[in-house]
Structure formats: C-alpha cells, structure tokens
C-alpha cells in the first residue's frame, strides 16, 4: 500500500519534471529575435520588458512567490492582491451556492415525493437546465442592476439544477422498505422526512452538490471576466490586458488548486453521509 503510494508519487514527480523541463526548453530566450524586438521596442519608445514572449518556468516561479508574499495588497480598482480577488470570487460562489441549496433541496424533496409535481415541473427543468448560465447574464444585469449580485445570480442558476435533480432523484429512489417501516410505525411526515428520507437520500444529494460546486467554480471565472470589477476571473482578464502572461498562468494554477480544494471539502462531507447497504 505505502510502497504503491510512493511509486505513484515518484511517477507524478517525474511527469512534473518532464513537463517543466519541456516548458523550460521551449521558452529559452532566442538571441537574435530578442535583439530585434528590443530594437523595435526602442523605436516605439517602450520598455522591452513585456514583449519577452511566453514566460519561462523560472519567471512563473518568481511570479508565484511575488504574488503569494503579498496576497492582500490593494492599490486601487485595477491592482489588488490575489487573496482579495479569490475572496471576492469565493464569496460570490458561496452566496450563490447557498441560495441554490436553500431552494433546490426542499424543492427537490417535494418533487421527489410527489410524482404529480415531478411530471408538472419536469418540462421546465428540462428546458432551463441546458441553458448556459452566462446566457442569463443580460437578464440578470438588467433586472438586478448590480454586476456583483448578477455574478451571484449566475452561480445560483448554474448550481441549482444538479442539486434539484439529484435531490428529487434521491428522494424518489428511497427504498420502499424503509418507507414501509416508517408507515407501520405511524411515523409523522416531518419525522419521516428528516429521519428516513433525508439520511437515505443524503449521498445522492451530496453528489448533486459536488457536481454543482464544480460547475459553479467553472462558471465564476467566465462570469467575472464578463462583469469585471473584482474576482479571480477579472484578474485573469485584467492581466491579459496588461499582457502579463506570467500572472495569467499563476491565476490559472490558483483556480485549479482552489477548485480542487472545494471538491475535496465536499467529498469529505459526502463520505460522512454515505452508508453501506
């Protein structure tokens, strides 16, 4: 077990070294071209610093250290530390996600318990589900008139469907044996909902939440690129406008790491409610 783990860790390290090595070789500065661009830059009266081409691994390393050593600085609307940007994104995702839970879990319960409501709402869900959450953005901006809250709305609308569908499915699929036990014990509806149906459907509901979180984290980047102002998505777009590819790559890595952390956190929760039949 531990030997296998060691082997896979070593292999991962090898992949990493190969990848970074290849990257390093591919981005080695080429003498003449650099000279030519320097000349061109001088002619244009600009500093040569930004036109060095694709950043090397060493430059990325430098950028990472620089950004992480001062994550919370704030020098005006277009220059904030990565920590502040992430906090904005996480707050939007958290808020939209919570709202989605508050709506989707109870509604999913009702849908799952009543075949009538299920059939009645199914066409709406089927039509609304495949809509890209960003398509809602104009409507959100027009009605809410606030770009930040519109971001929250977009997160809400993309998180709600997997949770709703999974909750409904989980509730509808609760084994009739357990419901019959509750019936023969004359268990009241509310107690049945919380002590039989909820624990029985919890793993499925958490699966929906995990899918939702994945989608929400994908969508927030795009949404923030669109509305601007703050957030990790805005940071990516802003650094692209600054032609600072090193910062863009740093932001991409950050998005990946945070997304993984969010997924792991919900995975933990999921493990807590999972049962073996």
């Amino acid at each position: 077990m531990s030997l296998g783990w060691l082997k896979s860790a070593l292999l991962s390290l090898l992949f990493f070294v190969v990848l970074v090595g290849a990257w390093h070789l591919a981005t080695l500065p080429k003498g003449e071209r650099a000279a030519a661009t320097d000349e061109y830059a001088r002619l244009l009266g600009k500093g040569a610093k930004k036109s060095e081409g694709f950043p090397t691994p060493a430059q990325i390393g430098e950028t990472i250290v620089k950004n992480l050593s001062e994550p919370f600085y704030d020098r005006g609307p277009n220059d904030k530390g990565i920590g502040i940007q992430l906090a904005h994104s996480l707050a939007r995702v958290g808020l939209g996600y919570l709202l989605a839970i508050v709506l989707a879990v109870p509604l999913g319960f009702v849908i799952g318990m009543s075949p009538l409501v299920y059939r009645a709402l199914d066409p709406f869900i089927q039509v609304l589900k495949p809509i890209s959450p960003l398509a809602w953005m104009p409507i959100a901006l027009y009605t809410i008139k606030d770009s930040s809250i519109s971001g929250v709305f977009v997160i809400f609308i993309c998180s709600v469907w997997p949770m709703l569908i999974n909750t409904a499915y989980g509730v509808a699929a609760v084994r009739s044996d357990w419901l019959n036990v509750a019936k023969t014990l004359e268990v009241k509806p509310l107690r049945r909902a919380f002590q039989v149906i909820l624990p029985a459907a919890a793993p499925t509901i958490l699966t929906g939440m995990r899918i939702s979180m994945g989608i929400a984290w994908l969508v927030i980047v795009a949404a923030e690129m669109l509305v601007g102002g703050t957030g990790i998505g805005y940071f990516v777009w802003n650094e692209w406008n600054n032609l600072n590819l090193a910062n863009v790559i740093f932001a991409i890595l950050t998005i990946g790491v945070v997304g993984m952390a969010l997924d792991l956190a919900i995975g933990r929760l999921q493990k807590l409610v999972t049962y073996v039949e």
């Binding site: 044996d177 019959n180 036990v181 019936k183 014990l185 029985a200 049962y275 073996v276």
Partner: protein, 297 residues
C-alpha cells in the same frame, strides 16, 4: 368474535385490456389471541398481499379485516411487521434502528428509558455487544434478528412476518426459528407468518393455512397442528404426527394446490379444518374425507 377476523378478502389488479385479474378472493380466516398461524402457498397466490393488507400497507379490493373489534384501515403500531429483506436503515446502528421504532411508539420517553427498553430486546435476540454496529457489519442472520427485535420492541398486539428467514442459510435459520419460538411462547405473542418452508411451519405454527394457486387463489384448507406446543427442532421428527402432517402439506403443495384452483367455482367460503396428524397411518386415502371438520364460528 376472534381476535383477528378476515372476511371475504379479495384483491384484483387491473390488467391490460381493461379486464381485472383477481389474485385471490373469498379469503376467510380467523386468528385467536396468542395463536401462531402460518400461511403456505406457491409464489403469486397473494400471501404477501394478504400480509400487507393486515399490516395496513396495502388495501384489499373487497372484504374486511377486523382486529380486536376494530377494522384495520391503514398501518398501526398495534401490528409489528418483520420484513422479508429485514428493512433496516443502513445509516443507523442496531440500537438506533430499534430506538427509531421505540420512539415512534412512546414519543414521551426520555433517552434513558428508550435505551433501556431497546437493550432488553437486543439482549432478547442475542445481539448483546453488537448494539453500535451498523447493519452492513452484521451477518444475514443477525440483521434479521434486529428486524425481529425491532418488531417485538414496540410490543404490538400482533406480529406479522413476511418470510423472515427466506434469505438465511439452513443452520442460521434453525437457530433463529428456535429463538423466535422461545420468544413467542414466553410473550404469548399473536403471530401471522408467511413461509415457503414446510418444516418451519410445522415447528412454529399452531395452525397452517394452505393457499391454492393464483390467480383466483383462496384458502383451500386449514391444517391444525395437533402436536403439543413446546415442540423443538431436535425432537419434532420423533413424533409420528410430524410425518403425517408433513406429507399432507407437501402433497398439497405438489398436487392439490392446482386442483383446488381449477375447481374454484364451487368452493366453500369457509375453508375446512383438517387434522392430518391424528390419522392412523393405515387409512391415508380416506383422510381427506374423514378429517374435514367445518369450523363454524
């Protein structure tokens, strides 16, 4: 009036083509307080439906069930059910599964009362020490013991068992049968049980209801177990009655269950009671005629 009376019970299901299929009809029988009654019949004759109607989980198309002078309409804590697939909640421990039932019956009890009560029934089925295990950590026999403890723990007026030992291996089944028998005799519990196992029925039941094949099944005969109570798995086969009863039951299942169905038109509402155990070995061919006693209530 008997403790439990089933009168003219009938169940039909809608079939494609607008015609309804009658699973069983004219089902009449009664169970006295403290009696252990088994029902035997082939698959599809509607045994489980009858049990579910008694439990209040299903409704009959026609007929009434009266328990303790009250009509059975819907599930009730007065009737405990042991389900075929044990139906334990896999996320809760043994103790919590039983406590769920106990709290349903006595919501005003405090945690200590609930726990003491649960412990008593966990001990009764021999699961002391396994209180905090989840069902997945238990063997099939232990799971079914929990199911039995849960049903007994609410101290119902009547216990309904739907083939509780069907999924168990022969050894475990024997042990739990013995335990169930001891508990039932100690508590004088009224029991209605479905089984496929002829030996199980003879060991446990005071009376055995024989159902004809479906569709349009009915109770064809009621076999009275004339062997004294207190019979055990170890000595039951030394009693000559055992083989007579067993032969009678097996003969019914293999041969007669079909014939009764084909002659469904003229069957009587009240099934005859027979006592095959009391027939001397010589006059076997005559037993059907000689031992039919019409039981009038």
């Amino acid at each position: 009036m008997a403790f439990l009376e089933i009168q003219d019970l009938k169940k039909t299901y809608p079939a494609p083509g607008g015609k309804a299929v009658t699973v069983f009809e004219s089902v009449n029988f009664a169970i006295e307080r403290g009696e252990f009654v088994c029902i035997i019949g082939h698959s599809g004759c509607g045994k489980t439906t009858i049990l579910n109607v008694l439990a209040g989980l299903d409704t009959a198309s026609d007929g009434v069930v009266v328990m303790d002078n009250r009509e059975v309409a819907g599930p009730s804590l007065e009737r405990g059910v042991v389900f075929q697939g044990h139906a334990l909640m896999p996320w809760a421990s043994v103790m919590k599964n039983i406590a769920f039932a106990v709290k349903s019956k006595w919501p005003q009890w405090n945690a200590i009362q609930v726990q003491t009560h649960c412990q008593k029934f966990i001990d009764m089925v021999g699961l002391t020490g396994a209180e905090h295990k989840k069902p997945a950590e238990l063997s099939g026999g232990m799971k079914q013991r929990v199911g039995i403890a849960r049903a007994f723990a609410i101290q119902p007026k009547m216990l309904l068992l739907d083939e509780p030992f069907g999924a168990l291996d022969a050894l475990t089944r024997g042990t739990i049968q013995d335990e169930l028998l001891a508990i039932v005799q100690a508590t004088r519990q009224t029991v209605f049980m479905i089984t496929h196992d002829v030996d199980e029925a003879i060991l446990l039941a005071d009376r055995i209801l024989l159902m004809s094949n479906g569709p349009r099944a009915a109770i064809a005969e009621i076999v009275e177990n004339t062997m004294a109570r207190g019979r055990t798995r170890h000595d039951i086969h030394h009693d000559p009655q055992y083989y007579r009863i067993r032969n009678h039951l097996v003969d019914f299942l293999i041969n007669r269950s079909k014939q009764v169905q084909s002659g469904a038109a003229d069957r009587v509402a009240q099934p005859p009671t027979v006592r095959p155990g009391l027939v001397a070995p010589g006059d076997a061919p005559a037993r059907a005629a000689a031992n039919v006693i019409n039981l009038k209530h």
